[in-house]
């Protein structure tokens, strides 16, 4: 019976396995293999085994380390801000008031927006010539000249500009997940806390926070992985520039492949990237993920 079940279930996931095998597993193996070779995209036949040279080159190159550092900053700042704003929004919206449902619905729609479009909107608004952001800052007196801040072409601001676009685009996601977590908390917990005379802060600290930790960790994990591989927003806004000031691992890998045609080098960087992310997510998962319980 066990054998038959195994065979049957295999039959059902065979098509999926086939797709994943050809376009996900095989590419990963290919990636691993390519990372040990010196390959020129213009002349792919002339491949040369170079061992760990690509890895050593990457890990000792200033540009790679800069991109890695930028990616870490990007993740920490973007996901941190998204989480704080998302939590505030979720807490606000968990108070049912007239219209809260409508606001929730409205905040959901950007979730379906392409990161590319988010990049375009902010490229438009952050423009130093006709962008509205500088004009608003000028009008309320924060800057003295409406063309003062070169958001996208000043190396001090480029990275933060891309982060702003990211925060705008994905905070609603965190809000939604946290809101779902908050609404899942049993009302009776708050009622008994009321009887005990707990104030708002106590209720938040001792009921809300512990109850949403699992959901919050999952939301954080998903966002960290997504932020780590951000490409669209940065590509549209700055293409990693000026200089390398907003270069992320993703844009650097893309350039290494398409601009410089170095397949081996970009493969090695991709492998390093995958390893970092897998370590990071397995840490999170071991903390929060309990194996799926089968209700037989």
């Amino acid at each position: 019976m066990k054998l038959k079940n195994g065979a049957l279930s295999t039959m059902f996931f065979m098509p999926a396995a086939l797709f994943m095998g050809v376009f996900l597993v095989y590419p990963i193996l290919l990636l691993l293999k390519d990372s040990f070779f010196q390959i020129d995209l213009m002349n792919p036949a002339a491949r040369e085994f170079v061992g760990l040279a690509n890895y050593i080159d990457s890990l000792t190159s200033d540009r790679f380390l800069k991109a890695l550092g930028n990616t870490v900053v990007y993740i920490i700042v973007a996901v941190g801000a998204e989480f704080i704003i998302g939590l505030i929004l979720a807490l606000l919206l968990s108070n049912a008031f007239k219209g809260s449902q409508i606001i929730r619905t409205v905040l959901l729609s950007p979730l379906m927006l392409a990161p590319l479009v988010s990049g375009l909107i902010w490229k438009f608004m952050l423009n130093d010539q006709f962008g509205i952001i500088n004009w608003v800052l000028y009008k309320i007196g924060i800057i003295s000249d409406p063309h003062q801040i070169l958001w996208l072409s000043d190396s001090r601001f480029a990275l933060i500009s891309t982060i702003i676009a990211d925060i705008w685009l994905t905070t609603p996601f965190i809000m939604l997940v946290l809101l779902a977590g908050i609404q899942g908390i049993s009302k009776s917990l708050y009622e008994s806390a009321d009887i005990d005379g707990a104030n708002k802060w106590h209720k938040f600290r001792y009921i809300t926070v512990p109850s949403i930790i699992p959901v919050a960790s999952v939301a954080l994990l998903i966002r960290i992985i997504d932020a780590a591989r951000t490409f669209d927003i940065v590509w549209v806004l700055t293409q990693g520039g000026p200089g390398f000031s907003s270069e992320l691992l993703s844009t650097y890998m893309y350039k290494t492949l398409t601009r410089y045609g170095q397949v081996g080098q970009s493969s090695a960087m991709a492998v390093i990237f995958i390893i970092i992310l897998l370590v990071l997510s397995s840490f999170f998962i071991s903390k929060i993920w309990s194996p799926r319980k089968k209700n037989a």
Partner: protein, 295 residues
């Protein structure tokens, strides 16, 4: 004069109640104002894009920038077709996203059914494996995927994008569908089996129809992933199969000073989706939270 002391006591008796009520009311007003403010902040940029697209072309890039169009004009919407073959890009997006959605939902549902209904070691390993696969950043697989597609001679074809989107979406579809299928009672397909259906027949005739909400949720998400993709299209297409995201991004490089048509293209690309998402938000919420809580 005489009844003043009495009033005072009455008042002092009432104060605690009123104060508490007032405090709660003020708190609620504070909450509402803050919520509206934040919501406005999040809606603002998109509304600004929408308004800009409706300005006369020159006004879109005027200094100082205007908020409200001086006159509402569809000039940008007419012009965008002159600059780039926007229509073709949209059709490419629709075809690749649509086809990959249909395939990945079916393949994903089939796999999820197999894992959900039959306890097997391989099934569980496969599930774990799909989870690990989802952790791998697509940007890094994009490199070898590009090489494979190139070797297959499929660069710049719709088929290439359909294959890639489907593969990326299948693990996701499996995870979403398992959540739904686990909640469909086993008695359903057992009854169908007793009535003489094969397992596949039970799946098609009984399980698929009752898990329509799950299929819808999965379809919405897989479609969005493909529709919004920029990286794979940028990497694997050049002229024939280019999708709308890459097409729109070209407005920036090619016509740097005339961004009006770009805003029109961006709105045409995203507004239908935004409106659609308002109608299907029930599915979006269940999909996001289920996907989130699951992983």
């Amino acid at each position: 004069m005489n009844d003043l002391p009495l009033r005072k006591t009455e008042l002092s008796k009432r104060i605690p109640v009123n104060a508490a009520k007032l405090k709660r009311k003020l708190w609620l007003i504070f909450v509402i104002v803050l919520t509206c403010l934040l919501a406005l902040l999040f809606l603002g940029p998109y509304v600004y894009l929408l308004l800009t697209s409706l300005k006369p072309s020159a006004e879109a890039v005027s200094t100082p920038p205007t908020l409200w169009p001086s006159t509402f004009s569809f000039e940008n919407y007419r012009n965008m077709f002159d600059y780039l073959p926007v229509g073709k890009y949209f059709i490419n997006s629709l075809v690749t996203a649509g086809a990959s959605t249909i395939i990945s939902v079916l393949v994903g549902a089939l796999a999820a059914y197999g894992i959900s209904r039959f306890t097997s070691v391989t099934g569980n390993y496969f599930l774990l494996f799909t989870l690990v696969i989802r952790m791998v950043p697509m940007i890094s697989i994009a490199i070898p995927m590009y090489m494979i597609i190139k070797d297959m001679g499929l660069l710049d074809t719709q088929l290439a994008l359909i294959l890639v989107y489907t593969s990326v979406n299948v693990p996701f579809a499996i995870w979403l569908m398992i959540g739904f299928l686990d909640s469909v009672p086993k008695e359903f397909d057992e009854a169908a089996r007793i009535d003489g259906c094969s397992w596949l027949g039970a799946f098609i005739r009984v399980i698929l129809p009752v898990s329509l909400p799950g299929l819808a949720t999965t379809a919405i998400f897989t479609f969005m992933l493909a529709w919004n993709d920029f990286l794979f299209s940028l990497l694997m297409t050049s002229t024939q199969a280019k999708t709308a995201t890459v097409g729109i991004s070209e407005f920036l490089t090619a016509y740097n000073l005339d961004l009006g048509p770009m805003t029109a293209a961006a709105v045409s690309f995203s507004l239908p989706v935004m409106i659609f998402s308002l109608f299907v938000q029930r599915y979006i919420v269940s999909g996001m939270t289920l996907g989130a809580v699951k992983e």
